[in-house]
């Protein structure tokens, strides 16, 4: 990855222009909230995606943000990344207080990755069925079973 960077209101983004990656790393929950508040003030007004990556013993939680109103920022898919250690229920602060559009996206990340967003107004499952008993299907350790073909006679 090329080591380019771009600074927006004092926040340094690691960038890869060709791959449209603009990333800023949060060191912990408090830093995350501080970053998000400053980015919101800078003009990032909506959340495009919330998701996570399974890095083995850790989880990276990602918020992708962009802007509808600020012409300079609206070409960016910026991402905030927070790395936490992986456990059954990982807790990170919610950003719904800053970007309300993160609401459903955080709910999806919760059911798929087991990331509990502390302070989220409605931390329930969204897409999975009510009787689903497996745990965190988008993590890499989720068992995948192949159903054999069966012909009834």
């Amino acid at each position: 990855m090329t080591a380019a960077s771009r600074v927006i209101t004092g926040i340094t983004f690691t960038t890869d222009e060709a791959k449209r990656i603009f990333e800023v790393e949060a060191s912990d929950g408090a830093h995350l909230l501080d970053l998000a508040t400053r980015l919101k003030a800078a003009g990032f007004d909506h959340c495009l995606s919330v998701t996570a990556e399974d890095l083995g013993d850790r989880l990276a939680v990602l918020w992708h943000i962009s802007s509808y109103t600020n012409k300079e920022l609206s070409g960016m898919n910026a991402q905030i990344r927070l790395i936490v250690s992986k456990s059954d229920n990982v807790e990170v602060p919610t950003l719904t207080g800053i970007w309300e559009s993160a609401n459903f996206l955080e709910r999806e990340t919760y059911e798929m990755f087991g990331v509990v967003f502390k302070g989220h107004p409605d931390m329930r499952r969204l897409l999975l069925p009510d009787d689903f008993t497996g745990k965190w299907p988008m993590r890499k350790d989720f068992p995948l079973k192949k159903t054999p073909w069966r012909v009834q006679k």
Binding site: M1, D16, A18, K19, R20, I21, D45, H46, C47, L48, S49, T51, E53, L62, H64, S66, Y68, T69, K71, S74, G75, N77, Q79, W99, E100, S101, A102, N103, F104, L105, M112, L126, L127, L128, P129, D130, P137, M138, F142, L144
Partner: protein, 426 residues
């Protein structure tokens, strides 16, 4: 769960209310605060709509009402969730193309395009100029069919089967055009890393122009029977208003966002394909009601017609597949390409391993912005395959826009947002 709630509706029937009221008088004196609050909540009517839905697919809408005014809406989605992300993370890169198409049936080219752009950025491939124009061409034809689909279903939501039949019949000539190019009617799988699979057939420009003239004439017919129809205007004007600031705050996307006065279009803000070379307007409306969202789609069809004409006029000559991919073809495939201008897949398509890295892509689909985030760790399958579809981003139409409106307006608001459940569930 559903049965219990069905029972609570019964309690709200007239007899049930009388019975519980007489019981209330006898016992309320001894009730705690929480129990009293529960009694009040009992008077609230809970209505379950779906999962079998008369509109465009499968979802359950749970509505809390006071009288016929909607107090709260909980959209229960996921009935058509197909785990596209998990499926794609366990398959070769090229096999994700049909998967992303399947969930966005009215709009498959745009789903295909968004994924391929993200993948090309991972691979570091640039498509040829002719391929860029062909991508724009098919994407705009598909946008018109997607808007016609939305307009037609809005007809069903408002009780007009005429406009539904019209819109679905008028998709046909456009689908025929795409069939001429790609060989398929709905799931084209036309766009591949490096370019597209087929070139324009002979005589395509003339036939396309006939279809565009037909569409323009039909838009005038739609205006008479549907857009300027007093019944439609009565049911949609001033209903389901989304203010500009709300639309931004809630992250509404696509035509719904522009109908609220936000001048944002992914084609312009995050340029891709041939859009930087083309001249088109981004229509907006300031009203933000259901009627504005209907007009928005009609105007976007007009702009798409304009873009298609420019593409057909300006399309450059040259290869439809980039040199990176062409050089990986075997001699037979190269001969086939020179003879028929048709791309046969080189073995590379099944064995590609993008270097470790990450990429994002945004594409303006018919309903709004498709967002892609791909992560490769150098393997032959994606390490992380994340995509967000416009209908999912438009979910606040249920939780926020419907609140405070009459129950009778629920179909009008749902239909105006052009929400498509399979697309939202992915």
């Amino acid at each position: 769960m559903a049965y219990e709630e069905g029972f609570s509706i019964e309690k709200n029937s007239v007899e049930g209310a009388k019975m519980s009221a007489s019981q209330d008088r006898a016992t309320t004196a001894n009730l705690t605060y929480d129990e009293l609050a529960g009694l009040k909540a009992e008077r609230e009517l809970v209505l379950l709509i779906g999962p079998a839905h008369p509109g465009s697919g499968h979802m359950k809408i749970k509505v809390w009402m006071d009288g016929d005014i909607i107090q709260r809406v909980d959209p229960d989605i996921g009935f058509v969730h197909r785990t596209t992300e998990k499926l794609s993370e366990n398959r070769l890169y090229i096999k994700a193309i049909p998967i992303v198409e399947r969930v966005m049936l009215p709009d498959t080219i745009n789903a295909n395009l968004a994924y391929v752009i993200a993948l090309e950025r991972l691979l570091g491939i640039e498509p040829t100029p002719r391929a860029q124009y062909l991508r724009t061409l098919t994407s705009e034809i598909n946008r018109i069919t997607s808007h016609l689909y939305g307009i037609g279903l809005y007809g069903i939501f408002l009780g007009s089967s005429t406009v539904y039949m019209w819109a679905f019949a008028d998709r046909e000539p456009l689908i025929d055009l795409l069939e001429e190019i790609s060989g398929a009617r709905i799931t084209y799988s036309y766009i591949i890393p490096g370019g597209v699979r087929w070139d324009l057939p002979a005589g395509f420009k003339e036939r396309a122009e006939t279809v565009l003239q037909y569409m323009e004439a039909r838009l005038k017919d739609y205006e008479k029977i549907w857009v300027k129809n007093p019944v439609v205007m009565d049911r949609t004007e001033g209903v389901g208003i989304v203010s500009k600031s709300d639309a931004i705050r809630l992250g509404i996307t696509g035509p719904n966002l522009r109908a609220s006065g936000v001048d944002y279009d992914t084609r312009r803000a995050k340029p891709y394909a041939a859009y930087p070379n083309l001249d088109f307007n981004v229509p907006t409306f300031s009203e933000g009601d259901c009627y504005a969202r209907l007009l928005q789609r009609v105007e976007e069809i007009e702009q798409s017609i304009r873009i298609i004409r420019q593409v057909l006029k300006d399309i450059p000559d040259g290869r439809i597949i980039s040199d990176d991919i062409y050089s990986k073809m075997n001699p037979l495939q190269k001969r086939m390409y020179e003879m028929k201008h048709r791309v046969m897949f080189p073995a590379y398509m099944a064995s590609m391993r993008p270097a470790a890295g990450r990429s994002t892509a945004s594409v303006e689909a018919g309903r709004g912005e498709i967002f892609f985030y791909l992560v490769s760790n150098g393997d032959k399958v994606p390490f992380r395959f994340r995509w967000v579809t416009p209908s999912f981003l438009n979910l606040p139409f249920f939780t926020h826009v419907m609140v405070g409106q009459h129950l009778a307006d629920l179909p009008a608001i749902y239909g105006s947002s052009d929400y498509f459940p399979p697309e939202a569930d992915r």
